[in-house]
Amino acid sequence: MSAAWAAVVLVGLGTALLKGAGPLFFGGRAPGERLNRFLEALAPALLAALVATSTGADGGRLALDARAAGVAAAALLLTLRAPAIAAIAAAAAVAALLRAAG
């Protein structure tokens, strides 16, 4: 088996287990109140981490580039209560224009 196929199989199996483990072992159960508060706080914590790294991480470095300008435009639109799709489109447009200009 080539390295590529081995990677397909191993990454695929590992990912399926990572995604499925929680629902497989804890699925459909009502969590206790403490666990429930933790799970509810997971969403903002992970979303904020995703915003931070997809804006400011480049490989293993922090980077301030066209993405940050795009996200700033999106943040402005969101505070003005624009729909999410407009904010997403603005982020892409600002980043693309900056790169085309730079």
Partner: protein, 222 residues
């Protein structure tokens, strides 16, 4: 959102995910262009997109192999990036019902974007919405990969189109309503700080897993 008409929830999830599914398709296309250059046959690349269904991990595995890295390094990099699906799966677990196999397969539709769309303002996953959002994004990813494999290097770079800025903007839009509660703000601030602080010193993927610990700041007091 109401569970009165389940097919409506599937549709509304798919509709909410449609724009991001298009963006995902463009990234899928660039995966389809890059994978053959790293020694992946078209079948291997397509099957990887259809079974792994996790963009950043697939790009990581392909780029490690393309740079001459070992199989072990490629698999480790990819799984480290995907380790965040441990806590994400855990957060979805209470909402996913049915037998073990059904719960396990429903969880495979979890990617960052479908999870974020399916989680209501309470942070609780709506399973039918996950089905719609995850299904739409899955189709975009697999169809995009196929298109990239067919088109070869003719596909424009997603970065030139600014599409790499679309993902943080999406996550920001989904984060915004959760910032209304003090617990949500504390958890978000802690998550962002942890992720940024670890980015220069930890392997890719680890900062986001560690950011899950930020949820403890929201869990302490109500």
């Amino acid at each position: 959102m109401s569970d009165a008409d389940p097919s409506d929830a599937v549709l509304s999830g798919a509709r909410a995910a449609a724009p991001i599914a298009l963006v995902v398709a463009v990234f899928g296309a660039s995966f389809g262009v890059l994978a053959p250059a790293a020694g992946f046959s078209p079948a291997a690349a397509l099957i990887m997109s259809a079974t792994t269904f996790a963009g950043s991990a697939q790009f990581a595995a392909v780029s490690v192999l393309a740079e001459g890295g070992s199989l072990a390094a490629a698999v480790a990099a990819a799984l480290l990036l995907n380790a965040r699906y441990g806590p994400i799966g855990l957060s979805a677990a209470p909402a996913l019902r049915g037998g073990p196999a059904r719960r396990f397969f429903a969880a495979q539709l979890l990617v960052d974007e479908s999870w974020a769309i399916a989680a209501g303002a309470s942070g609780r996953i709506a399973p039918r919405r996950l089905l719609g959002a995850g299904g739409a994004i899955y189709l975009g990813w697999v169809a995009g990969t196929a298109a990239g494999l067919a088109a070869g290097a003719a596909v424009a770079s997603p970065a030139a189109l600014g599409l790499d800025a679309a993902f943080p903007a999406l996550f920001l839009g989904l984060l915004a309503p959760r910032l209304r509660s003090p617990a949500g703000r504390r958890a978000a601030a802690a998550g962002a700080v942890i992720a940024l602080a670890l980015t220069p010193v930890a392997p890719p993927g680890v900062p986001i897993i560690a950011a899950a610990l930020g949820a403890f700041t929201g869990a302490g007091r109500s």
